[in-house]
Assembly symmetry: C2
Homo-oligomer: 482 residues x 2
Amino acid sequence: MWKPDRESKKPLYAQIADHLEQRISYGEFPPGSQLPSERKLAEQLGVNRSTVILAFSELRSMGIIEGKSGSGTRVTMTKWGATPKHTPNWKRYAEGGNFLPNLPFMRRIREALSGAPALIDFASGELSGDLAPSEEISNLMSRHQYTAYLGYDHPQGYIPLRQVLVPYLNKYRQIQTTESSILITSGSQQSLYLITQCLLSPGDAVAIEDPSYCYSLPMFQSAGLRLFRLPVDRDGACPEDLRALYRRHRIKMVFLNPNYQNPTGAVLGMERRKRLLELASELGLPVVEDDPFSLTSYGGMPPAPLKAMDAAGSVLYIGSFSKIAASGLRVGWMVAPNAIVERLADARQQMDFGLSVIPQQVAAQFLKSDYFEPHLDRLRMQLQFKRDLLIAALKRELTGLISFTVPEGGLHLWCKLVPQVHDGKLLEEAIRRGVVFVPGSVYGSDSGYVRFTFARARAEDIDAGISRFAEALRALLEVPSP
Amino acid sequence: MWKPDRESKKPLYAQIADHLEQRISYGEFPPGSQLPSERKLAEQLGVNRSTVILAFSELRSMGIIEGKSGSGTRVTMTKWGATPKHTPNWKRYAEGGNFLPNLPFMRRIREALSGAPALIDFASGELSGDLAPSEEISNLMSRHQYTAYLGYDHPQGYIPLRQVLVPYLNKYRQIQTTESSILITSGSQQSLYLITQCLLSPGDAVAIEDPSYCYSLPMFQSAGLRLFRLPVDRDGACPEDLRALYRRHRIKMVFLNPNYQNPTGAVLGMERRKRLLELASELGLPVVEDDPFSLTSYGGMPPAPLKAMDAAGSVLYIGSFSKIAASGLRVGWMVAPNAIVERLADARQQMDFGLSVIPQQVAAQFLKSDYFEPHLDRLRMQLQFKRDLLIAALKRELTGLISFTVPEGGLHLWCKLVPQVHDGKLLEEAIRRGVVFVPGSVYGSDSGYVRFTFARARAEDIDAGISRFAEALRALLEVPSP
């Protein structure tokens, strides 16, 4: 994105004023619309807030913007064109629709990361660049001829990819299926979106784990669903809790992440798996099983998914490459009964007309290639290494102040903070010191929890990141509450 | 997809029975669920309906399925597992949610095409494989290193692609904009979906052209919008009609396709463009301008888009590579005010977490490359050539039976049928003879219109396709109505 040129003779504030004037004249900020706050702009452009204030004052003196510094600056209505034009009230349109915005903490974290890429990132739930098989994928792309037909894809997704996924699911996840039962989606996210939008109706009750990454997704609330909680302990969610919820609220669907649950890292116990499936079958209750982390298992084979034991056909199974290869591929899959696959594929045509064939070709080549197994081995080793770095740093810096259970797979470590601190204040203190994490309340837990993703930061930054976090925490502890 | 092996010694019906038994046992068709109809399965597998009837009878005798031939065949409840399991009522779930299914005619066409790929395709609104720059794209992919970071993309889309689109939009579409005003989407379809889902609320009134491809998209109805029609003549829609609609129904947004409108091919007249923009500004009414076809203009530069003359900032501009390069890339873009781009980018994170970076890298490379201009020249020439082939065939086969206006750009020819025929019957007669088209009623027009896409079929098939269509039409005319 545009940044002012610090080598230029033109002062920074004047460069910024010119840049904003251009964006205003092109219609990015139409007459009457609000400009980003001084703080936000300063963060985006990497300058002091005072520089932005100077730039705004320049634009104000030219009659292009109006409003006092600090209290919302607007583009003037009359400047552009001889007569005042009636621009649509874009702000009102932007506030319309059913779609809830992302959670404030998530937006704040994204904003901080985009303004300061050097922040140590324990927040983004993805692999670091060096863990992704970028070179392997680049090699495959230059080696294979991608002259395949580039027309609209099959509504269920690229057939050769679905054909490769059949033996993949059998070998790695003990799932028996056919290519016609598979829907390729834009990561797990699109599978969840399709399920919540197309199979459920506003007002329906669904059960999700507590804590759960599902809370971080306003899509559940946007779809008008009522969320009920299944507390997660070391062995995951409890079938008895599900039965009680069903009795009270007529649960329509249950969402589970049985292996290396996000955020807790818990693995659903074998006995509970059996009882959950029995219960689902007894109640005719669909189970959505999200399984993104299994192949990261540090110690060999993870437990088989629910889908592999699903004699009654209760499970919609979701998988993805995002956490085991590259989130930027945007390739995920769902295994589901025919009626569901057809319905969701049809609805998806209305939303985006299906996925690009190119990443699907690349994903299929990667799965078939000799690169896949060595990549997985390396990934597991590296993740375990980073997890251990994180744990060592936490023990050194924060013993007595936090507690956690060591996860055996996945990308995250879930920590309980012993002292009581304010989630938002802790996040701001951490950002100020150059580190981000996700406050536990994002996942629906009580305040006082933190999710650290150890997969995303560079190994050499983990130590420093935790030192900064510890400083931030201590800074809050030193200030007595008023 | 799986097809029976005609070389095998095992009879076709037995192969089909085994195949279905496997899919049933894997849960694709759970206990109690309905199997596809005999006709549909026969079409999918490329066999006679009698072969499917035999296969069903085999499965029925094994107790795997039940129900009479021809009247809906179901998987039995008790066969799988000792005690009857309660499979979720997937059919009811598939019927839930807000999302309307695709139109029956569109489903029928897709079904026919997937069963018989040799059908001559005047229905799919896309380029034929030889018109897409497949070789150029393959060359670019093997030449460039795609080792870029494969993490989650910027919510607005890949920055280098947005940076290339700024001069592209300026050079080819006379639009001045900045990379921060651009949102990359999965084709125009996703732009429309985001707008209808996130900027409008159920019950809102919107104006669309009549006829319009928008009618073929149940997304408008799925979003609960009330659609009002702006009749399209040779010069497109009339500003006065829009004013009347606004007065009566408080229109909240208007959707236009000013250049080579789909399906009519009409170009909005210059005088009307000015009056429409004045009206939009007077009413504070947002205009969504979909502009997928402009660069196909056979005779040089097409009219500039509304967005290029949009002094009041009323226009949301939508473009895409689907009709000028390859629909399978799934790369489109929207140019919009900041508040809208941020809102839609945020909502899209909830739906699919953004596009894959790979096709965006490829699209950026292609736009920057020396391939782009020669590709466009060749595309325009070839489209004009195919249009002329279609017109010659229509004149030879159907003079007196149809009328049309010759389009100067785009992929489609819109025809009025002089005799009165039944839309659905004509389509079935055509499918039986090996050709598909889209009945005009799909676009909201009265029955008696047909859209022929000349871009998709191979040039050498156009003649035969129109002969078959003429036969189908004549077959209906010969049978007197009962």
